[in-house]
Structures are given as C-alpha cells and as structure tokens.
C-alpha cells in the first residue's frame, strides 16, 4: 500500500513538476526520488532475503512500481506506464499464479548445502554491485545528456512511436518474433494432445446421464435399522429387496471380534 500511495504522491509531485517553467529547479522530482529510492532498494533487498516465495514476489513488485514512477519522473511517461502494466500487471501476476499453484508452504530451505556459499555469494554480489556502480558513475560523471528535448519534440509518445516504427522497426519485429517463438515452444512442451473423439461432448454427457444403464436420481442412503446401524447394511427398496448401491465399495468391511467390541477404560 505504501507503494501505491507513493505512486500517487509521485504522480502528483510530477504534476506539480510540470508546472515549473523551463530551467527552474523544483523540488518535486527530488522529493519523489528520496521517497521512492529507499522503497525500490528495500524491495530489491527484501526480495533476496524473504523466505517465502510470494513475499519475495511482492517485494519485487514494490521495486518494479518504484522504477515505473522513476521513468515517469524522468520524462518517460509511456515507458513508466508500460513498465507497470506489463511487468507488474501481467508478468508478476503470472509469477504469483505459478507460485500459488506450487503451494503456500514452499518456503526456502534454510539448510546450507555447500559450506560457506552464502558468504561467498554475498561477497561476490557486493563486489559486483560496487563494480557496476563505479563503472556507471565514472562513465556518466562528466557526461551531459543533451538533445532529449529535441528528440521528443512532438512529445514523448509520438517520438517513441516514430523511432520504434522507423529506425528500430527491424529490431522490434525480430524481438517480437523471438518472443512468439518462445511462447510457441512453451506451448508445444506443455501441450498434451487429446483427440476430440475421446472427449465427451456436453450433449453426449447429458444423454449418458439418462441412458438405460444409468440411474440419474440420488443413490439410496445406507440402511440404518433397529437391528443394525452399520453402513455395510444395504438399504431396502420399496419392494422389500435389498440394493447394493447403498453400500460404499471403498470402505473395507471386516467382522468385529470380541477384542474390538470390549468396553475400554
């Protein structure tokens, strides 16, 4: 919920930011950044540390939402919305779907299989993060980003559309072909072929129900009489004969002997 509120805040902050005349420094962006950056970072750390897979996924959702708002603040409103709709709205929901199917108690095992691997992984991870951060910081330390205003002259969305459908149209199409191939592959792997003939249609099923060998009414209950209250006693039909339909075939019958019937305690 904090994310949702923060998101609303950021949208408002952004709206306020829009009000600023060009080149005037306004604090809305900074405020939004300092609210959302801890959430994004906390979400990322929480995702790694959470024991429960669903909690992990929720922390990741926090991070993705914050990233989406960052995009919006950095003048990429379309990218921000698509990030939220596609990543948090569709992909993470599918993740949750699978995790829920697996079961709620499938927490991580806390037994360490390889000795010292946690420490090693932590050290290497921190090292990698430090390396990437330094690299990026050095690369952009004295780089001024120019030309964004010129590139998005007609607004962010038309500019993005123009780029996607002219200069990068081939890359765009190739990516989509790749994704479709992957989806098809997954479907081929998961698809179990069943011929139409083996499946009963609804019509056949309803006919089967009222056919001569079927009995559509509820089955008679087990016989409970003065002489016996055992479920193994067959019920009596109106003509006085017994019916074995009332006796469950699953329950095993066995004779009671003196030892089991003796009063206990």
């Amino acid at each position: 919920m904090s994310t949702a509120l923060a998101f609303a805040d950021a949208v408002h902050a952004h709206a306020a930011d829009l009000a600023a005349p060009a080149n005037e420094v306004k604090g809305g962006e900074k405020v939004a950044f300092w609210i959302l950056a801890p959430i994004a970072l906390g979400g990322a750390i929480g995702m790694v540390l959470a024991r429960n897979a669903i909690h992990s996924a929720l922390f990741l959702v926090c991070t993705m939402l914050s990233l989406g708002v960052f995009y919006v603040i950095n003048a990429g409103p379309f990218l921000g919305m698509v990030q939220i709709i596609v990543y948090t709205g569709a992909i993470m929901i599918l993740f949750l779907f699978v995790l829920m199917l697996v079961g709620r108690d499938s927490s991580d095992s806390i037994v360490e299989q390889l000795r010292g691997q946690r420490l090693a992984a932590a050290l290497l991870g921190i090292g990698l993060a430090a390396m990437v951060a330094t690299g990026v910081a050095r690369a952009f330390d004295d780089t001024r980003v120019v030309g964004l205003g010129r590139a998005t002259q007609d607004g962010n969305v038309p500019a993005l559309a123009a780029r996607l459908f002219t200069r990068y149209v081939f890359a765009f199409e190739v990516t989509s072909a790749l994704l479709i191939t992957a989806a098809l592959g997954a479907m081929v792997l998961a698809f179990v072929e069943r011929s139409k003939k083996d499946q009963m249609t609804q019509r056949q099923r309803s006919r089967e129900r009222v056919s001569a060998d079927s009995y559509p009414a509820p089955k008679p209950g087990p016989g409970v009489y003065a002489t016996s209250d055992s479920v193994a006693t067959p019920a009596l039909l109106p003509d006085g004969t017994t019916t074995d339909k009332s006796v469950s075939k699953v329950v095993q019958t066995h004779e009671l002997d003196a030892a089991t019937t003796k009063a206990k305690g």
Partner: protein
C-alpha cells in the same frame, strides 16, 4: 553525476510539459484547489458506491417483481448506510492459517488503485471555482488512459493476494481464477481501446473527449464499444463473469475468509471499479461530459459551466444500470467457456478490427477519400460479407437425428419410469361435468360445485 542527469530530466520534463499539455493547464493550479478536487472525487466515488448498491438492489428487485429494501429511509434509500455501519461493527476475524501481513494488506491494495484510476477522468469543461478557472478533472497526462489500465492491473493484486493469504482452499481457487481472468480480459480491453487511440490520436482523456465533439465513438467504433463492454464486465468480476466469487462453486471465492471492514473494502473496491469502467466507457465512447444529441441544438449552454457533470453522471448511471441488468438476466458462464471466449473470440475480433481501422485511415490518407466514398466502401464490404453469410448453408436438424434420439431412448427396463410414446391423456373428469352443465370454460374456483347444485 546525479545533478547532470537530474538537470537533463528536468529540462526534458519541462519540454514535455510545454509540448503536449492537453487541452487545459494541469499542474498550474493552487494546492488548495487540487486538494478540493481530490476530496470532491473521493466523495463522488463513495456517494456513487452508496447509490449504486441501493440502485442495484432496487433494480434487481424490480426485475424479480419484489419490493427490495424499503425500511431504511424513504423507499429504502439509506440501506447502504445501514449496511456500511453494520459491516463496521462486525467482528474482524483473522484466520489461524492466514499470512497475517498479506491478509491485512490485500483489501487495501484492492481499494487504493480503484480510487486512483478516477484521477484522470474528465467530469466537465473549465469552470470557475472562487474566481479560478479550472477544468473539472484532477489531472491529465499524455498517457492518461494507460494510467487507468495500470491502476486496474494493480487492483488484481488485491484479489489474488486475498485468495492466497487466506490460507484456505476456496479463496485460493478464487484468487487463481481472478488472476487468469483479469489478465486475459485486460488484453481484450486494451485492444478495444486501441481503436479509440488510433481515431483520437491521443492517450489523453481530455483530448479524447475533445475529439468526440462531432460524433461519439460509440457510433464510428461500435465493435470496439461492444468488446470494451464485455471485457469491462470480465475485468470487474461482475455477473455473468463473477467466477472468482462464484457462490455456488467457491462459497465466497477470494473473500470467503474476510469479515468486517476488510470485507467492506473489497465491496467498496468492486463498486468503485464498476463506476470507473463505466466512467471510462463514457469518456472513451459516449462523448464524455458532452450533452446528448439534440440537446445542444435546443440549448446552446448545455456544454458549459457545471451542467456537463449532469450529463456525465447520467451516462454513468445508464452504464451502471446495464451492469445491473446483466446481473439480473444472465446466468454465470462455465470457467473454460469463459476463458475460451476471451482468448478465441474477443482478442481475434479486436485484432481484425484494429487492422481494419488502420487500413481505412491509411486508405483515406493515400487516396484522399471523402467521407461518402469511405462509407460506400465500408457498406460494400459489409454487403459482401452479408452475401457470403447468406450463401453458407444452414445446418438442418434431419430426420436421422430424431431417429437417433429414439434409438437411445431407454426401454421399459430403464432404471426409472418413462411415459409411453403413445400416451393418450385421459379426459379431465371436471371437464365432463362442465360439458354436461352446458357451461363454457369455467372460471377458476368453485364452478364445478355450482354445476353440481344445478
């Protein structure tokens, strides 16, 4: 380093603001004015919810020929208030097997995006509030409709997490169903809106309303409107698509374990979502806050000042009525049929329709077609489709099928009695008495006695 990037971002966002600020100036208002609008929208949504609940119960009651709630307030209009109070004072139960934190957060996650989505819905044109000229809309952005979609996709989390966190089987099944359902129907909903984007050439809600000044999109984009309506019902889990909370299969679905205010939040979220998708339908297809056809000819001031709120609310209530009408009329779909309908019917039709719209707009640009020429082409295509449909032979029920049915008819040895095929109904003994007395068809009750006395 961060300063440079921030600079670039700021100048870019200022640039963006200067270029694509739609219709009105959003963000230049005083803070108090924005706060007033926020509170007003919140109040509007809550009042609409209270109204919608009573409205629904009254309309469904009328359709089922019974009075409906009629004890609290005049004609029962305060029933929702009483229900709200009752819910607040109920015992709040936390199931033992629930995941405490997620169980607590789920109703809040369901409710918050429902409120958020309304921020970009235009309720009216510019009006004057205490001397400030301002549009009747909290905010707008070049991606406003995408923002509504994003908010609705966040709302799914509330339901899915509620189902999972309850720690019991039926809610889990409800949560799984809603995850699959909402993701699928969001796709067809998004595709149906694409046609509006293509026609209005904008994502901004106020610009879309502006673009419908001449003709509403429900007329020129009728297939999109139909698909939007169907998928909106699926998106907000209303009957006949209320599978996540199908009471005959899943007890209460995702909210089985919820009680008290947490349940009330789900209730609130469902009704606000209903109001929001109706408002979006109004904005995208029904001309937004514009007066209905003909009104503007009689009365030129209908689209200015505060009057548009009336038109907007009227359209909203008609859309809500359709939701209720559907609930009162249609039985629930089977789950597999429902998913098949979404993926194999709605999505392909949307795709073909988008293709057709793009083709038409390209043709118009390339060949400089007039409106009449375009209509002639569309009419020609439709006529051709109609002819092809007429040529397809109709499937007849043959004599053989009747023979088949007779062949599988159980004989006298069936497990249950069947009437004989050559059954002749014996004459009604009462009718005999009446004929004897020479009376016509008797009135109900007591007429045989009278005949006997004579």
């Amino acid at each position: 380093m961060s300063m440079h990037l921030a600079d670039a971002g700021r100048s870019a966002s200022a640039q963006w603001a200067a270029d694509v600020r739609p219709v009105a100036d959003f963000g230049t208002e005083a803070v108090w004015l924005v706060l007033v609008k926020v509170v007003a929208i919140f109040a509007f949504l809550v009042v609409m919810t209270l109204f919608a609940i009573v409205f629904e119960r009254k309309v469904v009651a009328y359709m089922q020929v019974r009075p409906g709630p009629n004890r609290v307030g005049p004609w029962g209009v305060l029933q929702s208030l009483a229900d709200g109070l009752k819910l607040a004072f109920k015992e709040d139960i936390m199931p033992t097997k629930a995941d405490k934190v997620v169980f607590f957060l789920a109703p809040i996650i369901a409710c918050t995006p429902a409120f958020m989505a309304f921020a970009v819905i235009p309720l009216g044109p510019e009006v004057s509030i205490f001397g400030n000229s301002t549009p009747l809309q909290l905010t707008d952005s070049p991606v406003a409709v995408l923002y509504v979609l994003a908010a609705s996709s966040m709302g799914v989390y509330g339901i899915v997490l509620a189902g999972w966190a309850s720690g019991s089987t039926y809610p889990l099944l409800g949560g799984l169903r809603s995850a699959a359902q909402m993701v699928s129907y969001e796709i067809s909903m998004g595709l149906s809106i694409v046609a509006v984007f293509l026609t209005a050439e904008s994502f901004s809600t106020s610009e879309i309303v502006q673009a419908q000044a001449d003709s509403w999109y429900v007329l020129i984009l009728a297939p999109s409107f139909v698909i939007y309506c169907i998928s909106a019902v699926g998106e907000v889990n209303r009957a006949p698509f209320d599978l996540p909370e199908a009471e005959s299969e899943l007890v209460g679905g995702f909210h089985t374990e919820y009680s008290s205010l947490k349940f009330a939040l789900f209730f609130l979220a469902e009704y606000i979502n209903m109001v929001t998708v109706s408002a979006l339908a109004t904005t995208l297809f029904l001309g937004g806050w514009r007066a209905p056809f003909g009104v503007i000819e009689i009365w030129s001031g209908a689209n200015s000042g505060w009057w548009p709120i009336l038109w907007f609310t009227g359209k909203l209530i008609i859309a809500l009525f359709v939701f209720i009408w559907l609930r009162g009329t249609l039985p629930r779909l089977r789950y597999d049929q429902f998913m098949r309908f979404g993926w194999k019917v709605l999505v392909p039709i949307s795709l073909v329709w988008i293709l057709a719209i793009s083709a038409v707009s390209v043709l118009r640009e390339e060949y400089d077609l007039s409106q009449r020429g375009l209509l002639a082409i569309i009419g020609g295509v439709l006529a051709l489709a109609l002819v092809i449909l007429l040529l397809v032979p109709e499937r007849k029920k043959t004599e053989e099928e009747l023979d088949d049915e007779l062949a599988i008819r159980p004989g006298p040895n069936a497990n249950y009695p069947l009437p004989p095929l050559d059954l002749s109904i014996p004459p009604n003994p009462r009718m005999k008495v009446l004929e004897h007395a020479g009376a016509g068809p008797a009135e109900l009750g007591g007429s045989t006695d009278k005949a006997g006395e004579e």
